[in-house]
């Protein structure tokens, strides 16, 4: 029984046996988050008839310039589902991406394109917004780092303004690969190791242009609960510790970084929440999580506070700063909308 039906049926039950019904002010909308970033929750925003539009894991979401919201799932009946902001389904496409995982959108000279990382095909695929394939980047044999395609399990892309494509091999050998817009391999950095410049589950990557004079790459080191910074040439520049937050990918809007946090707590045994960082990468709000607290500049370990989310995997932000949350391994549930209050 879903939430609406539960409430509907329960209410009918009360009426049928003649119990007094609740006054309208009985209802108390749940508000999650902290400080300036607090949200009400529409659990049913993206709900669809699973017989017609099934999902497995809802991995990532992006929004285009028309305000349409693209969801990527690894269900090959419809890998891409396109919603409007009200949660109405506009279009679906895609049947050939069994490992659909990462979804990035980029305006390239007035036309927007999608970049899909498929961790079963071990490829990155560039498409138009309606699903026409433009380019496929296979596993980077020429890098000399990989013995076979199966070692390469890309999770995310970020596209620079010059067209360079950065691919995070987050479930593979942990390298960041830089390609030209034409798909020529230019550089490879990161990888496994014990130094700060190395990565352990390099799950997400994005282009950080919040400081226009100093644009850089942000990479999530998920198992270390760290957000790391590199130059576009791959030089490691620093990290932000987010203890207890198993962050998936950084999504930047205005001065803030939003990160779905798939697990939380000691050893990642807790369920997830959403992390929102300010322009200095300080955690200012954790919808679904405990209140962020810093002592001597160190963030206390983060945990889930309320069981709103199971495994948040990505967050998408609209122009009104509402959030759309896609979840991995959450029982084939559809995306949730968080309405900013």
């Amino acid at each position: 029984m879903n939430r609406r039906n539960f409430i509907k049926n329960t209410s009918f039950g009360f009426a049928a046996i003649g119990l007094p019904s609740f006054p309208n002010n009985h209802w108390k909308d749940l508000i999650i988050g902290h400080g300036s970033h607090r949200y009400k929750i529409d659990l049913n925003w993206g709900a669809l008839n699973a017989n017609f539009y099934p999902v497995k894991d809802c991995h990532e979401m992006v929004i285009d310039q028309k305000g349409r919201i693209f969801l990527l799932t690894n269900h090959t009946k419809n890998n891409v589902l396109i919603y409007n902001k009200s949660g109405q389904l506009l279009q679906t496409w895609g049947t050939t991406y069994p490992g659909a995982h990462g979804l990035t959108i980029k305006d390239e000279g007035g036309e927007e394109f999608l970049y899909i990382t498929d961790n079963e095909r071990h490829e990155v695929i560039k498409t138009t917004l309606d699903g026409r394939e433009i380019m496929v980047l296979p596993y980077p044999a020429a890098s000399g780092k990989y013995e076979s395609a199966t070692q390469y399990i890309p999770t995310e892309t970020a596209i620079a303004d010059n067209g360079d494509i950065y691919v995070a091999d987050g479930y593979g050998l942990q390298y960041i690969l830089q390609y030209s817009a034409k798909g020529e391999l230019l550089n490879i950095f990161g990888g496994r190791g014990n130094d700060d410049k190395h990565l352990d589950n390099a799950h997400g990557i994005s282009i950080d242009q919040r400081d226009p004079k100093n644009p850089k790459l942000l990479v999530t080191d998920r198992m270390k609960n760290q957000l790391k910074t590199y130059t576009f040439e791959g030089e490691y520049k620093g990290l932000t510790d987010l203890r207890g937050a198993y962050i998936c990918r950084p999504v930047i809007k205005d001065d803030l970084v939003y990160l779905a946090t798939i697990w939380s707590g000691e050893s990642g045994t807790g369920k997830g929440f959403i992390a929102i960082l300010d322009k200095n990468n300080q955690l200012i709000s954790a919808p679904g999580g405990i209140a962020p607290e810093y002592t001597n500049g160190k963030l206390r370990r983060m945990y889930q506070a309320l069981s709103v989310f199971h495994h948040p995997h990505d967050v998408c932000i609209d122009k009104d700063d509402n959030l759309y949350v896609a979840q991995w391994n959450s029982g084939q549930t559809y995306p949730i909308k968080l309405i900013r209050v």
Partner: protein, 269 residues
């Protein structure tokens, strides 16, 4: 006339009833997350200190140590909580605006100084879950619940696992405790039977039910009552095939163990 009364009464009831259920998620529909529990040492010589924090402001954390379910009237948890004997403890968080949290189970065990040697007789731990070898089972270091990359665990994938214990001298042993991991999502299951043999005689046997549904990952202790003097003994651990409800049905599950603890105390638990 009866119909008119019935319709009228229905209209009265409908008029009292809210016209719409709320579109947005309500506080009372959501459960608290689990209380935040941190233990300085699950295996301790003198005492274990447990830090207990509620997951949400003004939530209460309550607990029991007698095996009964935690309720709104169970004792409130102090912070920290000090334990100085073997204890199985359950925690749960409550708040008037939300559903209660799930129950969180923890166990602590007191360790002694008894030395013994261990050997594998019919099965060996499999890589990569054999990094430290058998010394991992008597170094008083607990493995983590997130077992991957944690070298304290030995992982076996056999229908039967046998571990031979040899003491320096005959030693009174009240209890032998096996410290294990159960994580069905990772195909790690509990044994269905454990025996202790001395000179091929079974001196202890404990059976467990086959799980009917998946359980969350949990650190566990199996307390085996021996209450006899031992110079040597064999632990025989039996695994069933994975049940039909699991994706790995019909295959041999993993058994994970990180410590064997001797309780040589003649006193109570």
């Amino acid at each position: 006339m009866r119909w008119i009364i019935a319709i009228g009464w229905s209209l009265v009831l409908l008029a009292c009833h809210p016209k719409e259920y709320p579109k947005l998620l309500q506080s009372e529909e959501i459960a608290l997350a689990n209380p935040i529990i941190t233990i300085d040492s699950v295996l301790f010589k003198h005492q274990a200190t447990i830090s207990v924090l509620p997951p949400y402001a003004q939530a209460d954390v309550r607990y029991t140590t007698n095996g009964e379910a935690v309720t709104k009237t169970s004792p409130l948890c102090s912070n920290p909580l000090i334990l100085n004997k073997n204890t199985d403890i359950q925690f749960k968080a409550f708040h008037p605006d939300f559903q209660p949290s799930e129950t969180v189970f923890f166990s602590v065990r007191k360790i002694g100084n008894t030395q013994f040697q261990l050997s594998e007789t019919s099965s060996q731990a499999k890589a990569p879950y054999n990094a430290k070898g058998l010394q991992a089972l008597s170094n008083f270091q607990k493995g983590k619940i997130n077992f991957r990359g944690n070298e304290e665990w030995l992982g076996y994938q056999n229908d039967t696992i046998e571990l031979h214990l040899l003491f320096d001298e005959a030693t009174y042993c009240k209890q032998i405790t096996l410290s294990t991991l159960c994580d069905h999502n990772s195909w790690i299951f509990n044994p269905v039977k454990i025996e202790i043999l001395q000179n091929d005689d079974v001196i202890f046997m404990q059976k467990a039910a086959i799980p009917q549904a998946s359980q969350s990952a949990a650190l566990q202790f199996f307390d085996l009552s021996v209450a006899t003097s031992l110079k040597e003994a064999t632990l025989k651990i039996y695994m069933n095939k994975i049940p039909d409800w699991h994706g790995g049905k019909g295959t041999t599950p993993w058994f994970f163990i990180d410590e064997i603890i001797m309780n040589t105390n003649h006193e109570g638990h």
